[in-house]
Amino acid sequence: MKPAPFKYHAPTTVDEVVGLLAEHGYDAKILAGGQSLIPTMNFRLAQPAVLIDINAVSELAYIKSNGDGGLRVGALARHAEAEHSRLVAEVAPLVHATMPLIAHPQIRNRGTLCGSLAHADPASELPAVLVALQGRVRASRQGGSRWIAAEEFFQGIFTTALEPDELLAEAAFPPLPSRSGWAIQEVARRHGDFALAGAVAVVQVDEGGTCTAARLVFFGVGEGPVLARQAGAALVGAEPTEQRIADAAALAANNDVPTPHEDIHASSAYRRHLVEVLGRRALSQAFARATAEER
């Protein structure tokens, strides 16, 4: 239960970080909040030869509004900061509502939003939120950086489009358009535990109340965030009645989501049941917000 030896670097600028990544690449790991990396090192499931600690890179410690009215969070923005930020509550209410669902206060004091995205745990809330909002991340390497859309970024269990020499420098959560609503729903065994299953919905309606867009994304039931395309398509173009929402959630559970895994906490069938119930609740809540709020 002790980590294997490693070489430790504590750079203070992004230039140094990407320089170290260029030098060590495959042998190195970024150490952000450490709330996922250090447990796996303690178990020796991970034994990186080099750790690049970004906690002293102050230029990465920001949460700010984007030019488009959305939110930008740097790699050192911690969950607890977003949880208590008025700006996040205003411009990214879905992100704000997600924070208390992530682990416990002590863990949120260290863990970072970008770390949650880079780690890509299939049971994690934030990757699903980024996909639902059609957000992006910026990957930096020596000599340049590129933006990666959420749907391309998450590639499987603990797997992302990030190359070994790239730093996830920041994430961008776009603003919600007018007449849109959002919701996040999950079932966990204990407050703050990883969810058995969860659903994020982001929807939009027109003046007449017809659904013009619906994105329903699940976590905890696949190899990463699962975007329920058929369920979304079934809702667009019609009024989101209770029946249509229930049908869409059933479609998600039966067609969109692959057979969920089984573990000591939940059977595959129970997880599929949760997909339907949580999908329905998330859609209902999101549509209620969309019709109630002239945002």
Partner: protein
């Protein structure tokens, strides 16, 4: 043995300088290098909360940080709560004692270090808020009821005037 680094950490107001391997966990640093064995180690993967300490004033898992990351920072452990113990305890410790908030006591340092900052921010918490605040700490003895009672008692002790409790 891998390379060693010399670090300076302020713990409970006192400066400690030690030379350690980067892979040394903060929890082990406190216990083995600084002889501050009040910080307990249960699971070493962030689940039990026994190792909770204040890092620059905020509760964190000391098993999920490396000691080298504390270089130049301030740590408060349970020993720092009551410098005059056992003659004088922190009001939260008194409340745990009086309300039977502990049995074996293994989990207690972690609960205390989680709850001290919580009570500073929430001088008059509801049962639900207390339960949420301690969701990240495991206790195998008490069943949590007495811990919740202890926190309510501590809140009353720390802010005996109810009007003060509302406004602070």
């Amino acid at each position: 043995m891998s390379e060693q680094m010399t670090i300076r950490v302020t713990i409970n107001g006192k400066a400690y300088e030690r030379t350690v391997e980067p892979r040394l966990l903060l929890s082990d640093f406190l216990r083995h290098e600084c002889d501050l064995t009040g910080t307990h180690v249960g699971c070493e993967h962030g689940v039990c909360g026994a190792c909770t300490v204040l890092f620059d004033g905020l509760p964190v898992r000391s098993c999920l940080m490396f000691a080298v990351q504390a270089h130049g920072h301030e740590v408060t452990t349970v020993e720092g709560l009551a410098p005059e113990a056992p003659e004088r305890l922190h009001p939260l410790q008194e409340a745990f004692w009086e309300a039977h908030g502990l049995q074996c006591g293994f989990c207690t340092p972690g609960f205390l270090m989680t709850l001290v900052p919580f009570l500073e921010q929430n001088p008059n918490p509801s049962d639900e808020e207390i339960r949420e605040a301690i969701a990240g700490n495991l206790c195998r003895c008490t069943g949590y009821q007495h811990i919740v009672s202890a926190v309510k008692l501590a809140a009353a002790k720390m802010h005996p005037d109810p009007s003060l409790r509302e406004t602070r």
